[in-house]
Symmetry: C2
Subunit: 209 residues, 2 copies
Amino acid sequence: MSRAERIRILLADDHFIVRSGLVALIHSDPDLAVVAQASDGDQAVELFLRHRPDVALLDLRMPGRSGNAAIEEIRRQCPDARILVLTAYSGDEDIHKALEAGALGYVLKSSTGDDLLPAIRAVAAGQRWIPRDVATRLAMRSAYEELSHREIEVLREIARGLANKEIAHKLAITEHTVKDHLKSILGKLHVSARTEAVTAAVQRGIIEL
Amino acid sequence: MSRAERIRILLADDHFIVRSGLVALIHSDPDLAVVAQASDGDQAVELFLRHRPDVALLDLRMPGRSGNAAIEEIRRQCPDARILVLTAYSGDEDIHKALEAGALGYVLKSSTGDDLLPAIRAVAAGQRWIPRDVATRLAMRSAYEELSHREIEVLREIARGLANKEIAHKLAITEHTVKDHLKSILGKLHVSARTEAVTAAVQRGIIEL
DNA sequence: CGCCGCATCCCTCTTTCGAGGGAACAGACA
DNA sequence: TGTCTGTTCCCTCGAAAGAGGGATGCGGCG
């Protein structure tokens, strides 16, 4: 990419209004140009591969294929892809997963142009861009152990209000095992009751309702 | 308001990007003009009273005074105020409260210009504007009894993971009473376990995490 | 005035939770 | 190879939850 050329941007957000705002904001800078817009994850992947933009600006919460799945797919097909995540804050889990999947930067939807435009330029240049407060929160996050797949599965059923016995039946394991998973969950999340485990997990973005 | 004059609009949303999108969208229609922008509830009230716009376009989720509180205050000081709520869907409780507080219309943030501009015109003309699917959901909602103030208070503590005994101590009532409230909560929400009560209440917007 | 909803209190009873142990086996990893 | 983690199973036991009753004041509303 030559310095003289404009930075070509792909937008992906399911809200038309947000896309409009981004277009207005980005076009206020003559060095930047929006070359494509997607309204869901699948479209984002497709348009990325077709246009090969310098930066992809992705929301994580989208219908169809989630933002994170889209990031993984794009990076799989195009390992050099430069992706900047733009989303409303909703727990650290999503952010962490997005960065793990290969996103280079992260900005909050509450950002103004003064925050967003430098982030776009930085990511277009291949640099990382993480706001300081987000970076520190992610560092703190590592204090919590990650839940295993099975534990998350159990937690999801707990959130739905099922008793241990019902969960046991549904997952085809004994009630004892369900209790053991619950013990692990409570320990890892540093909580003492199943209800608290659910709210803590929702707040951290581990499960959704 | 004369028909020949432009419809004067107040925007209130905490996301700069969303405000930009709305401005771009609204200015694409020569009959509409944004006369003021607020980024929180208090500012929305202040700017409404100063500019007396024909329509106020408010988000419900805002820092400081909530969108609903802002609606109430505006309607208290100016009963003719025409307010259109624009928000991401997050349970029916907020929508219901907003309409009760005096909002004339409601549109989802996922709307396109084709949905939003007619809504603005309708509300500016003093007409109600509720999408059909929202209206039917609100009608269904009445099948659920409303929780009393005390019950919501108890439910909030349950969500935080407190045991009945702890809740009793915190609210200065006996554990028996807590259980009685819980019984009412379970009955009204049509659920059978405290954990399920929490998730159901969160989904309906009765409590937040 | 009586009725109803709310909040408060009390009881018993069975089931479920959650903490405390121990143990087996598979796969990953050094 | 040994070790570690995840998953599964097992046990006991006290505390908590939830269903079932009944009862008292207090306020609003017809």
